[in-house]
Structures are given as C-alpha cells and as structure tokens.
Symmetry: D2
Subunit: 132 residues, 4 copies
C-alpha cells in the first residue's frame, strides 16, 4: 500500500518556504489552561500568494504522550487568493497563510502542523509540548 507518510515533506523552515513554523505564545503551557499557538509559513522566506500558487490550509494534530491515537486540533483554510471575474490576481482579497489558535491540553505530547501548497503538496513540522 502507498502510504500518506511518503507524501509529506519536511525541512528547515529557515531554508524552505513551505514549512509551517509553530510558535507558542505566552510562557510555559499549563495543563488545562488555554494557550495560544501561531502557525505560519514564510517567516524567513516568503511563499507566494497568487490565484495559481498559494497555501490552501494549515491543519493541526495533537498526539498525547503515551496515547495510541492522535486528535485533530483544527483545520484552518485560507480561501481568498486574488481571484475575480476580471481574471486571476485581479481580485480584492488575499488571505495570508498564518493563523493563531487557542487550545488546552491535559497531557504533554506532540503538536503536528501540516500545510498544503496547491502545487507543492503537503508539508509538515512538529513541536513537543511539555507542561510547566
């Protein structure tokens, strides 16, 4: 069987513009308390945002330490990319590939971020969440 794992690329986000950058906002994550996480692409090298080439979405998953299964945390779609009745890249709105979400966790684990470029496929990164 062909596996999904083979479709995700990863790299150093300082060198590769498709890699989602995961940044915790605020101090230590505490069990059962809301914290903010910013996930974006292009922190170092900008990714295009045009009708023909753009980032479609960022999805987040959380794999609690010691658990068998992962949970989806969120799916964040960037829908406007300059399209209009006048043609590609003439439209009035562009959604940027960046999101700040909030969540709470009861356990430490790994936060996975995935992003889809409409022509360069699936990319991923991860961040270990420890509880302070």
């Amino acid at each position: 069987m062909a596996e999904m794992g083979a479709l995700y690329a990863h790299d150093d986000w300082k060198k590769e513009k498709h890699v989602p950058v995961i940044e915790l906002e605020g101090g230590a994550v505490k069990a059962d308390e809301l914290f903010s996480v910013k996930v974006s692409l292009g922190k170092e090298i900008a990714h295009p945002n045009t009708t023909a080439h753009h980032i479609r979405w960022i999805q987040l998953f959380f794999k609690p330490e010691g658990d068998k299964f992962a949970y989806q945390v969120g799916s964040f779609e960037f829908a406007a990319h300059g399209e209009s009745v006048e043609g590609a890249d003439t439209g009035p709105v562009y959604t940027h590939h960046s999101i700040t979400a909030q969540l709470k966790v009861k356990k430490p684990g790994v936060l996975h971020a995935t992003a889809l470029c409409n022509i360069h496929g699936l990319w991923e990164s991860s961040l270990t969440i420890t509880l302070g």
Copy 2:
C-alpha cells in the same frame, strides 16, 4: 424556496454568547497591506466547549463595496472537544473558538463572520472595513 438567510441569528455579543466578535488588530487598515483580525466567541459570556456542545467553526466572508459578489476569506475549524476512547469529556484536548487570521484587501467593504454551534445553529456578525 426556504432561504439560508433565515437560518442565521444575530444579536448583541455582550448579551448573547453565540455571536462572533470581530476585532481588528493594529491601526487603520491600508489597501494592499496585511492586517490581522481576531474573531472569537464568548468575549463577555463564555460559550461551553464540551463533546456534546461546542463551536464547530468560524467562517469569514468579504463583500467589497460596490461589487456584486462576496468572497470567502477563510474557514477555521475547531476540531477537538474532549472526546476520547474513555467517553465524552475525558479527552486530552479542547480547541477554543477563537482565531486570529491575516488578510489584505484592495477595496473597502464588509467583513462577515459566521459561527456554527453544533446545537444552536448558525450565528453571524459583520464589520465594515474602511481604508485609512
């Protein structure tokens, strides 16, 4: 024909916990420059976040002034609500109903926010965007 418009409720967010609150971050919005917008529920009155009752998503649309059609800006899904193999509300992750997104616009217009509660249906609010 039964119309979608009749399915959306709206109210004062200071009195009603289902109404999406739209807040621009930073100063005046400028044409063709990225700005941040926070959309959340429960700024004044908290909405529950449990396996059986929670906010599923927030969607944003932009209707440029003078244009005939609206554009979808984004769809932001909150996927984790305490579910686990142990049963409802025993799980390790809850996604909060709040998002900060970034976009740029070329024209003034109206930003519409819609939110779905899994048991209390569709809610909406809007904010007029003027360019500074």
Copy 3:
C-alpha cells in the same frame, strides 16, 4: 448590520449554472433510515472548472420542521482545479462539483444546499424532506 442572507443568490437551476441541484436517490425518505442525496451544479448548464474559476465547495444544512435551529449536515470541498508547477490549468487533476452523501433524519424538514464559486460568490437552493 450587514447580513449573510443578502450574500446568497438563488435562481432556477435550469437557467443558472451556479445553483446547486438537490436530488434524492431511492424512494421515499423514512425516519431513521439512511438515504442518499446527490448535490451538483451544472446539471443543465455546465459551470467551468479551471484554476481561476471553479466551485470550491457544497455545504448542506438541515432545518427540522418546528425546530429553532439548523444543523450542518456536511461540507464537501472540491480541491483540485488543474493547478501545477507548470502554471494554471496544466495540472493532472480536476475535482468535479458534485457529491453524493448519505444521512438519516428523525423528522421532516428542509435540506439547504449552498455552493461557493470562487468568483461568483454564494448560491443556494433547498428541498423539503417529507417522511414516507
């Protein structure tokens, strides 16, 4: 307040290519039994499917008769529209704007279908579901 209801267009699907066509498959819908529903655009007049102009998604909502709130039934996104690293409309995959879903209901009510064209905005239609 500017309302979402004003953003949805509707028309006769035999004359307007953006209107979702809702078709029940099988005979009478029975309470608590799965039935299939096909929702598509372009049954009479084809809608384009190109990188710059296409149908993004179809969403379904159900408003039970006598209930106060509507439920979202599904959101079905059509993601591939001929994009590739070679440029617009050179890619190997196009997702068509048509879906067959299955659901069961306990009560009669109205099934609402909405569709988003990336440049012609939001469209809607509805079908009353009676139980046989």
Copy 4:
C-alpha cells in the same frame, strides 16, 4: 522530528472498521474523463455514528505517477452526529461516513483516502489508478 506518517493507521478493511474503502464506479478510468469514486467506512464492519464517537471526514489525495508532489482532491466532512439541545444522541440528523465524488485525471497515479475518527485517529488506504 515527529512525523505525520506515524499517525496514520492502516489495515484490512474487511477486518478493521476504520479503513476507508475506495471503490471506482463505472468501467476503466480514461484520461481527462470524469469518473466516480465512492469512499466509505464500514462496508464489512459498521463504525458507530454517535455524538461521542464518529467519523469526522474523509480526505482524498492524488499522487500522479512520476510527479514529485501530491494534490488534494477533496475534503468531505460529516457534520451531524445526533447532537441537540436535549443532549447527546437525541438530535434529528446523522451524516453517514460515505461519499461519492467525481474527478478527472490526466495521468495514472495513486489515490489516497484518509479518514478521521474523533477518538481513534487517522486511518488511510490507497488505490492505484491506471488509465484504460
């Protein structure tokens, strides 16, 4: 780095209820001609559909033979799972975890189906598409 590939489970769909079953409808797939594909869970062993335990979505990806990147074909969300203001599993609508979509491809390749159970995580299967 923790990788997404490790989060997907796969198995024989005749023995495991979480595995998406991919079925082509109609005869041989022809280049540039629409074909239908049904993707469902529970063809042999039913998966629950309750407020606390259900299938959230099926997503499809296509990896053209010889290409470097995969394309997302669609994301199909099953949104109603018996929730209501009366409590879990008292509601009037359940969306079943089954979808029939239509697409066309220019090249042979692999169609990947992924599914998310809200408590049993990510599952996958794949089907090689040859052109007749």
